[in-house]
Amino acid sequence: MNKNSYFSDITELFIKAKKEENIEVNPHAKAATREMLSYKIEQIKKSPTTADSTAGSLWNRWKKQLIGVPVSLMAVTLVVFAASNMSVSIPQDDFIPTQELITPIVEEDVAVIEDAQEEPAKVTRKSKPELLTIDYSEKEIPTNQPVITTYYVQPNVPAATPAQPAVQPQETAPAQPATQKKSVTSSQNYESSSRSNGSTSTGGGSSTSGTSSTSTSNTGATSDANTPQTLIQNNNVTQPQTPHLNIPSSDVYGKIDGDFRVDLGENNNPAVEVDPTLNHYRQPLQPQTTTTLTKKELEKSVKLDILSNVNVHYLNSDQAAVEVEENGETRWYMVERSNDNWQVVQKFD
């Protein structure tokens, strides 16, 4: 192929078209434009800004910097002054204080058994001056008053270890090694699991326990088979303690921070029994936010159009047992929250 002739036909067309075009310039219009440009040139000559003065150009060049620098310095000074006078306040709801901040620690002489050959030395043990005694009675705890209780617990106790009263008030617990003590402040709800009859109640006062050996749930009240059970909400508000949880020791010992689940079983009877000597609750340290399961979400998850009578029993912030009464029948559902979506995990007919 001739390299020079590929576009030759079209280029020739353009040349011919240009000849045909013959655009003429209006000489009057051209002269008028020239006159206008002359007038403009005279104005440019008369304008002082066009003079080639070194001082003028220097001022024009630097005036922006000279004005801008003080203004920017002033702005920076104002920002620094405002920042130094600002105080940051942390909302109480979002702040999870440490134990020491909640309850000031006061040293107190406590006798500790160390060596039989040596006299028991008095060691100072930190205690809470506002320690409250545990009330194992079945009286109702006011719902609007969180119960603050401090317990000394023994961590990592094997499951075979017989159950010991884990919670001992400060005044009557002398025989615990000081090195293994761990003070825990309450204001946390302990929602323990129960292996009884589908009941998941954990009602009771809010108290904390950090030991595996004593991590049995105790709502402080016996539960009735037909009595609806209310649970402690995650917002640290106690509920009336109507049921008791009968928690086998094997399910509870050995787990402090563990996952507590409610095995609903096949029995609809939610009655549980709770060891009245164990009455401490613990809630995983979480921001105190309400994580209630809405009716809409529940309907969507259990695929029921109308839920006439629904009771939600929270195990923790992400798990709940739902008691649904439909057409005279009571059904239980285990629901779990995953990525802010509640889903039915297990259904018990």
Partner: protein
Amino acid sequence: MILDKLGEIWYKDTLILIFMPSSQDLKQEKHLVEEAQKDPDQFLALYDKYYDCIYRYIYRRTGADKDVAHDIASQTFLDALENLKSYRFQGYPFSSWLYKIAHNNVIKWYRKTSKYKYVPIEEAHTLSDKTQNSEETADNALAQDQINAMMTNLDQDEREIIKLKFYEELSNIEIAEVMGLSVSNIGVKVFRTLKKAKGLLPTKHDLKQFN
């Protein structure tokens, strides 16, 4: 203007020649521009030299409207005079800078009036009143018809390239300066535009329908 052959570029078996004004012309032009920057009165010499080609360029872009073309041309040279001190000679003819200003003013006019029209085929014959022999006139008229029919199927950039390349006879370097593109990009665009135009050319049979 005397053009020097600056070089050759082969693109897909096509020779694209690059022309540039001769170095002597460029030197003279550079001297003229520098004098105009010192003394604005010397700008009128540049005006007399380039007004006609700028006017024709605007005339083609605005769709054969003489009054509009004169107004835009006047505005172009007024803008050039006001910004003459900011012009820096970069080895390109001064006309490239004027074409660029005219190009921008035409775009502003389009945006202002929301108008864009191309010379319809029916009016193509009225553009010429040049006396030629009958055969050459007819041949040129037919070429004009073909070009007009083809141009309606090109986009604005492609029409711009054809007008600058074949009507204003600008080099690829000058076209790159006017359109704000690289020289290599312009070379490729010229090739693609010509290839597309070649495929869009109507036959003589097609043109008879409009006669």
